[in-house]
Each structure stands twice: as structure tokens, then as C-alpha cells.
């Protein structure tokens, strides 16, 4: 780290100007790191133990998956309060199908995702084509699907699920290298065991990140766009790579890559790409930025709003499956209040409540900030009362920081 910070100090005014404009992006990453370091210290190293790191991913996967959809909904200028209930309802739906009706797992998963899409479509229809405020429609949806879960489960918990279903959430990807080979390898580093696939994944992801970053810079330079200062690019990339390798190392010394880590990671990459690099992503930002102007520019704003909610429904359903699989049971209270965590994650991640701004990566980092705080405070034994107050204040500070920055720029 010392070497890199020397590098940054050579840049001067150019870097300062860039940093000012991108304060939010870096601030968020730094906040996450600071929070992790803080809890690592106060929990006496428990936070970053391999088993806890693994748990962190398992516990927050469904929040992150829903945050991807929520980001799009919020960027489009709407909100979805129903996701917690929808998630719980779909979990219950899957439980009834598998446990009570003995349907095959693959069919259940497909039907559950379709159910999510249908719920999203049902809500999106009123919002997009009837212009009923999303706050109201999804508030109604929240009540309806909360009740529907209770009705479907008859007030009881339904479970357990067959192992093949549980794998979706609690499974790990088996190592490609047999133990007989990996154990001597681990011994070199003084470890009991190491998951070679997991480490290899971390290294491959790091290489891909550097390669993509360099390619993007080369392209920017070719078109004469003034982008991130070179020192900053390397500093940021090294920090991110460091974090990836560190996390993969931790995971590798426990049970390797959780299945849910892969689905979450793939979805994050996909949604980051769709929002930043595709025409449909661009149109969503235009819709949220100025709906009337977007419409007069030939953008089918109604259909786009509708699709944003369909997408949210599918992701909420997927999150519901993972959640049910993790608990190995569907309960009538499943997903209760989770919509607030998801919305908070997106706003901490820098999205604006008025629509038009926000990034997928921001929402994911926002979700991790919430997740690490939940986890860290629980390890410390802080009561749920204080936890909620602290989380509320963190959300408020993040938004105040945004508004303050914007004012300073104006």
C-alpha cells in the first residue's frame, strides 16, 4: 500500500479534479474497506475468518440479487416495496410444489421464476400503463403477497427441501484438483487445505479485470476521452484485485466457492454490463432522468417501466428460492422487511430517489456495507435495537454525503 500511495501523490491537480468528480465512487469503496477493517479489529479477527467470510456471502446473496433489480427500478424513477413479500411468497410456492406436491426441483425452479415474472408484470402493468404511482401499487403488492404466503403455507413452516434444492444456496463448487495434490500445495503455505479452483478463479478474475480495464483505457484514449488518471486507475485496480484475491484466499481455505457466489457474481457482471453498455440500459437512465423527454425521443417509456418490474419480479423470485434453500424451509415470515434492506443498499450505493442516477456496482457495494455491518455488529453482540438505529443513521449519512457533494459541485 505504501508504494501505491507514493504513486498517487505524483499526479497533482489532475488527480484532485478527477477525484472530486468521482468522490462518491471512491468514497463508497473506501467506506466498505474502512468498515471491514473496523469490524475486523473490534471483533478480534472473527470477521475475516474463512467461515465468516463464506457466511457473509451466503447471508447477503439474496439481498444483492434483489438490489440488482431494485437499482433498475429506482433508476427508472420508481420504487418496489413488495420485493420482501414476493420473495417470501415464491419461497412458499416452491416449498408447496416440492414438499407437498412432490414436483421435480428443476420444474419448481422454472415455475417459481415464471411466477416472479408474472407478479412483476401484474404490478408493472398498473404502474407503467395506468400511471399509478409505484409506491402505492407495490405497497398493495407487499400486503397481498405477505397474506398470500400465509395462506399458501396455512400459517405453518414447510420443509425440509431435498438436497438438490438446498445446493442452490448452501452448495459449494467441488475442487478440480484432488485433495492428494492440493494438500501438499497447502502445506507449502503452512495451511491445512486450499481449494485450488477457488484460488484459480480469483487469479483469473483479477487478470480479466486488469485486461478489461486496460482495454477500456486504450479505447478511451483512441477516441480522445479524458478518463481516470493512470495512477488512480492502478491504485483502484490494485485495491480491488487485492480484495478479490484476499476474499478468494479466505474462501479457498474453507470450503471453496459457494454456488450462490457464482450466481451472484455472474448476475452482477451481467447487470453492470446491461446498465452501462447496452441501449436498453441507456434508455432506462433516460427514462428516469426525464420521462417526457425520453418519450419524445422515441423511447417506449411504458414498456420499459413494465419490463423493469418484470425483471424485479424474476430476481425477487430467484432470491426467494435461494432464501428458502438456505433456511431449508419456507416460513410465513420469510422475507419480512427485507425490501427495506434492499432499498437501503441501493441508496447507500449512490442512486438518487428521483431517478436517473445510480450504478449496479454501487448497489452491490451498498449491500455489502449493510451486510458487513449486520454481521460485525452481531459478532460484537450488539442488540438488534442498536443495530437498527446504527443502520438507519448510516443510510442517512450516505444520502447526506451525496447531497452535500452535489451542492459543492453546483
Amino acid at each position: 500500500m505504501t508504494m501505491q500511495s507514493v504513486e498517487t501523490s505524483t499526479g497533482g491537480g489532475e488527480i484532485r479534479a478527477y477525484l472530486k468528480a468521482h468522490m462518491r465512487d471512491y468514497g463508497l469503496l473506501l467506506a466498505l474497506i474502512a468498515i471491514m477493517v473496523f469490524f475486523q479489529l473490534v471483533t478480534g479477527g472473527t470477521l475475516m475468518r474463512p467461515v465468516n467470510i463464506t457466511n457473509l456471502f451466503l447471508q447477503n446473496s439474496y439481498i444483492i440479487i434483489m438490489a440488482l433489480g431494485m437499482l433498475i427500478v429506482i433508476v427508472s424513477g420508481n420504487i418496489d416495496l413488495s420485493v420482501g413479500s414476493v420473495m417470501g411468497f415464491v419461497g412458499a410456492f416452491a416449498a408447496v410444489m416440492i414438499v407437498e406436491l412432490h414436483m421435480p426441483v428443476s420444474l419448481t425452479i422454472a415455475a417459481s421464476l415464471l411466477m416472479g415474472a408474472a407478479i412483476g408484470a401484474a404490478q408493472g402493468y398498473w404502474i407503467a400503463y395506468w400511471k399509478i404511482p409505484s409506491f402505492i401499487v407495490t405497497l398493495a403488492g407487499m400486503l397481498v403477497f405477505r397474506g398470500a404466503s400465509l395462506w399458501l403455507l396455512d400459517g405453518q413452516s414447510v420443509g425440509p427441501f431435498p438436497p438438490s434444492f438446498q445446493l442452490m444456496s448452501t452448495g459449494f463448487i467441488p475442487d478440480i484438483v484432488p485433495d492428494t495434490l492440493s494438500q501438499p500445495l497447502a502445506a507449502i503455505f503452512g495451511l491445512v487445505k486450499i481449494n485450488v479452483l477457488c484460488m484459480g478463479f480469483g487469479i483469473a478474475a483479477s487478470v480479466a479485470l486488469v485486461w478489461m480495464g486496460l482495454r477500456a483505457r486504450a479505447r478511451e484514449a483512441a477516441y480522445g476521452i479524458v478518463g481516470e488518471p493512470v495512477n488512480f486507475f492502478w491504485l483502484r485496480t490494485l485495491v480491488v484485485i487485492g480484495a478479490i484475491l484476499f476474499l478468494c484466499f479466505k474462501l479457498a481455505t474453507f470450503r471453496g466457492l459457494p454456488n450462490v457466489f457464482i450466481s451472484m457474481g455472474l448476475l452482477t457482471v451481467l447487470y453492470a454490463f446491461v446498465t452501462q453498455n447496452t441501449t436498453i440500459g441507456r434508455r432506462i437512465y433516460a427514462l428516469g432522468g426525464n420521462e417526457k423527454a425520453a418519450k419524445l425521443s422515441g423511447i417506449k417509456t411504458e414498456r420499459l417501466t413494465f419490463l423493469a418490474f418484470v425483471n424485479m419480479g424474476v430476481l425477487a423470485a430467484f432470491a426467494g428460492l435461494i432464501f428458502a434453500a438456505r433456511l431449508n424451509t419456507a416460513t410465513p415470515k420469510g422475507g419480512y422487511g427485507l425490501e427495506l434492506d434492499v432499498i437501503a443498499a441501493v441508496f447507500i450505493g449512490g442512486a438518487s430517489a428521483s431517478g436517473g442516477t445510480g450504478k449496479v456496482i454501487g448497489a452491490v457495494v451498498g449491500a455489502f456495507i449493510m451486510g458487513v455491518m449486520n454481521n460485525g455488529m452481531s459478532i460484537m453482540g450488539i442488540g438488534i435495537d442498536y443495530q437498527q438505529m446504527i443502520k438507519g443513521l448510516v443510510l442517512l449519512s450516505a444520502v447526506i454525503f451525496d447531497v452535500y457533494n452535489k451542492r459543492k459541485q453546483a
Binding site: 479505447r219 483512441a222 477516441y223 476521452i225 441501449t279 434508455r283 423527454a293 419524445l296 422515441g298 436517473g356
Partner: protein, 504 residues
């Protein structure tokens, strides 16, 4: 004559920019004083200094008002001394009624309970004074921008105003409404109210003003007696060069008919029995600039928007032919695909995504042109945005600049760039130079002429008749939803257009 206001050596700096550099302004009691200058010259900043938006101490120089040194810290301080400023951007609450808006913060009330009779009576009085025929209970959102402007003025009059400052008061008004407003200023002058008017419309300045102060690049250029003053002299001082010809030359070379509209009728979206456009027929040829003249509320914007993807109105009937073949204009994307483009009169609310960059806005209507398989090519986007920036001489440090930070003229260039990138055959320009300064207007005119020269069919809607007369090959005259006349450039004049409207 005594001086009511004397601003001496006002200097106001923002980080990196000197917005005002020792500006002097001296206004005599009871006169109408015009301030002229291009956009960005510092007129609005000067008024913000005067009204206390920029508090005393944040600028250098002295303000003497009504006999003593004024040190306003807030807008309320200046209002308490009878200075009322009406901004370019209206500050009305759209969901409240006219009466509620006029007395907002100044309610006719006893012990906090509003006296509605008194409120309505006073409102009616004020509305009569400004010549607005609307009920005091009318919701502001339901009346047009022009009428809203009159409500603003009525609101100013409801306070005990000594110095009335009007920032571009007629920018959104029609010829006859503007005239009414100017006459109203003269009437107020007779009652002893001093006014400052900031305006781009020099004929209006000449009509009302006693004295003219010209500001350019943050400094006072000249203080002129309005008597016998020529518009050319003002323009010369404003731009620092002679502008003998305000409309660039173009040799008309109309080709075949591109767009033909027959019996186009449109009904009001909310009021079922109101027919807003009544059997309008017209055509435009390639390389032709056709004007639509008419008063506000005559249905010009409604006609344009109903044609462009049925963006306005209900029960639209009639036929649109492109190159002689019927064309489906029922959706905006369909209209764009057919080769239509519509540059809206309200670029901030309907034309641009202000929070986004020039590049973002430029490519928005034709994302296909900068993407492959739905994936955007940002480099290509940059190239396109740069190309239009160069072509239109848009003044900006970078195409990544937020359009919200640009001046009106440059914003309009971005809107034009957006539509040119869709490669339209027919361009409908709705008030293309509204709120744009003289220099930028000329540039926009030049762009319009270049488009016509490329063979595009241009329809130009404007409330400024000299502009239509200076730019168009043919002018349709619209009144109350119908076309009441068609004039060739050679036979058109302001008088003939007005007489067509009036005799209908």
C-alpha cells in the same frame, strides 16, 4: 430626476469566473430602464446581487437604493424595501390556484384563517390590471406559460412594489400578450413604479424603455437614451460587432413535396368536446422552410406534437403522406423511423436530460446508430457527439459536460444535434430560438439554412414574426386550431399575418 438605484463598480466572482467586472447601473426614479446583453453577459447575476440572492459582502461595490446604502442579505430584505424580481423561470406552484399563488406567503388572513372573499376580490382586481381573463380559482397548471407570466406579475403587484424587475418577461409570450404586458409596464410607470426590464427583444425595449444599459462579458458597455435609439446600435453594443443582417441569406430551392398532411383534426386530451385542431391541411417540400404563425393557444404546438407520434391529444384523425405514400405516425419511434424530427419548444422539460452529458443526449434518439446488437459503442458515441459539436460550434469544454450546465443557445444546439443524428427528412422546429441571445440565434438560423440546403423539409413554428418573415419561404397562418391563410415569402408581412388572424 432623482436616482432611485445606483449600483457602483459591482464585481462578483465565482470560482474561476469573473461574472461581473465593475458594472455600473443607474436607474432614475419613475423610469423604465432596460438592460440588454447576450446570454451569459451577467444580467441575471447583476439582478441577483441587487435582490440579495447574493448577499452583501459576497460581491464588491456599492448599491445605493432610495437614498441610502443598501446591504441586502436575503431576498426578503430587498422585497421589504419594495424591490420585486420576476425571474425568467416562473416560481409558481402548479397545483395551487391563481389566487393562492398570488397571495402565497402574503395571505389575506385573520389570525391565520384565510379570508377567501377578500383574496378572490383582490385577485380579480389584480387580474384585471394585468389583463388576464381567468377565474381566481383556476389551477395554475391548467393555463399556459404566457398566462402564468401574467400571474407572476399580478403577484408582484400584490406587494407594495417600488422597483419592479422583469427578467425576460415576454420570452414565452405572444405578440399581443407581450404588447399588453408592455402597456401594463407603461401604466405602472404612470403610477410611479420604476421598472427594470431585461429583454432580448429590442423592439420591445425601444417601445417601453427610457434608458438602456448594455452589458457585455460582465462589464457595462454603454448607457443609452432610448429616444431615437436604433436597434442596430443596441445590437452592435451587445455583440461588439455590427449585425447588419440578422437573418443569414439563403437561396430557396424547393424540391418535391416531402410531407403532406390532410384534414388533420385533434381533440383535447382532457376536455372531450374541445376540438383543438380542426381539419388542417398543409405540405412541405424538400429544401423548404415553412413557417407556422399564430397566437399562443392557436394550436401550433398541439398540431406538431399530434403529428409526432400522437404525443398530444385524442381522437386524432386525418392523413399524413410522406413522399405521396400514407405513413404511420402513431408512435414516436414510428415517426422517427419515418424520418420526422420534432424540436420541442420546452427544451429543458421535453427536449433534454439535463443531468446527463452532451454525448448522452446527442445519441439518445438514435442509439441504433452507435450500437451493435444492443451493445453501445462509447467511442463511436463520442465521435458522433464531437462531430456535431464541431458542426454546430457548440461552446463546451467537452462532450462529457452536463447539458444542464450549458447556456440556452448551446442547449438548443444539443437538441438539434440529437435530431440531426436521426437523419430526418422533415424537421419541425417549435420556437427554436426562444430564450436564446442574438448571437446564438444567428447561429441557429445558419444551421436551419444549412439543413434546408441539404434538402430537408423544415417546419418552423415561432411567436416572433420577424423571425418567420426573415427565415421562411412560405408561412401558414394559424388561428384557433385552423389554418386561416398561406402567404409566400414575398407577400408576407407582419401586418398581413395579423390581419389574417384578426379578421377570422
Amino acid at each position: 430626476m432623482t436616482t432611485i438605484l445606483e449600483m457602483r463598480d459591482i464585481t462578483k466572482e465565482f470560482p474561476g469566473v469573473k461574472a461581473l467586472d465593475r458594472v455600473n447601473l443607474s436607474v432614475a426614479k419613475g423610469e423604465i430602464h432596460a438592460i440588454c446583453g447576450e446570454n451569459g453577459a451577467g444580467k441575471s447575476t447583476l439582478m441577483k446581487v441587487l435582490s440579495g440572492v447574493y448577499p452583501a459582502g459576497s460581491y464588491d461595490g456599492e448599491i445605493h437604493y432610495d437614498g441610502d446604502l443598501a446591504q441586502f442579505r436575503t431576498l426578503n430584505d430587498s422585497e421589504a424595501r419594495g424591490i420585486v424580481i420576476i425571474h425568467q423561470e416562473l416560481a409558481l406552484i402548479p397545483q395551487l390556484s391563481i389566487a393562492e399563488n398570488i397571495f402565497l406567503g402574503n395571505e389575506r388572513a385573520r389570525n391565520g384563517v384565510i379570508d377567501w372573499n377578500e383574496t378572490y376580490r383582490r385577485t380579480e382586481e389584480l387580474l384585471r390590471k394585468v389583463g388576464l381573463r381567468e377565474s381566481p380559482g383556476t389551477i395554475v397548471d391548467t393555463i399556459g406559460v404566457g398566462k402564468q407570466q401574467l400571474v407572476e406579475i399580478a403577484k408582484a403587484l400584490s406587494k407594495d412594489v417600488k422597483l419592479l424587475i422583469l427578467d425576460e418577461p415576454t420570452a414565452a409570450l405572444q405578440e399581443n400578450d407581450s404588447r399588453k404586458l408592455l402597456d401594463l409596464m407603461l401604466e405602472l410607470k404612470a403610477q410611479g413604479v420604476t421598472s427594470i426590464i431585461i429583454s432580448h427583444k429590442l423592439n420591445e425595449v425601444r417601445y417601453v424603455a427610457d434608458t438602456v444599459t448594455v452589458i457585455r462579458d460582465g462589464t457595462t458597455v454603454s448607457r443609452l437614451d432610448a429616444k431615437g435609439l436604433s436597434e442596430d446600435k443596441i445590437v452592435h453594443d451587445m455583440v461588439g460587432r455590427d449585425m447588419s443582417n440578422r437573418y443569414p441569406e439563403r437561396i430557396p430551392a424547393p424540391g418535391e413535396t416531402v410531407l403532406e398532411v390532410r384534414d388533420w383534426s385533434v381533440w383535447h386530451p382532457d376536455q372531450a368536446e374541445r376540438k383543438v385542431i380542426d381539419a388542417v391541411s398543409f405540405h412541405v417540400r424538400a429544401g423548404e422552410v415553412v413557417g407556422i404563425a399564430g397566437l399562443m393557444g392557436s394550436g401550433r404546438t398541439e398540431l406538431a406534437m399530434s403529428l409526432f407520434g400522437r404525443s398530444w391529444g385524442r381522437n386524432i384523425s386525418g392523413e399524413a403522406l410522406l413522399h405521396g405514400k400514407p405513413v404511420d405516425l402513431s408512435t414516436v419511434s414510428g415517426a422517427i423511423a419515418a424520418g420526422m424530427a420534432y424540436v420541442t419548444e420546452d427544451r429543458k422539460h421535453l427536449g433534454l436530460i439535463l443531468e446527463e452529458s452532451i454525448r448522452f443526449n446527442t445519441t439518445l434518439s438514435n442509439l441504433k446508430g452507435v450500437s451493435a446488437g444492443g451493445v453501445l459503442n462509447e467511442g463511436e458515441e463520442t465521435r458522433v457527439a464531437e462531430r456535431y459539436r464541431a458542426q454546430m460550434a457548440t461552446r463546451t469544454p467537452s462532450v462529457m459536460q452536463k447539458v444542464g450546465n450549458l447556456s440556452g443557445g448551446n442547449q438548443q444546439k444539443v437538441v438539434l444535434a440529437k435530431w440531426l443524428f436521426t437523419e430526418p427528412e422533415v424537421l419541425i422546429l417549435d420556437e427554436p430560438t426562444r430564450g436564446i441571445d442574438v448571437g446564438a440565434k444567428y447561429e441557429i438560423y445558419t444551421i436551419i439554412n444549412a439543413l434546408a440546403a441539404q434538402g430537408k423539409a423544415v417546419i418552423m413554428i415561432s411567436s416572433e414574426m420577424p423571425e418567420l418573415l426573415g427565415m421562411c419561404d412560405r408561412i401558414y397562418v394559424m388561428n384557433e386550431g385552423a389554418f386561416v391563410g398561406e402567404l409566400a415569402a414575398a407577400e408576407a408581412s407582419q401586418e398581413r399575418i395579423m390581419s389574417l388572424i384578426v379578421t377570422e
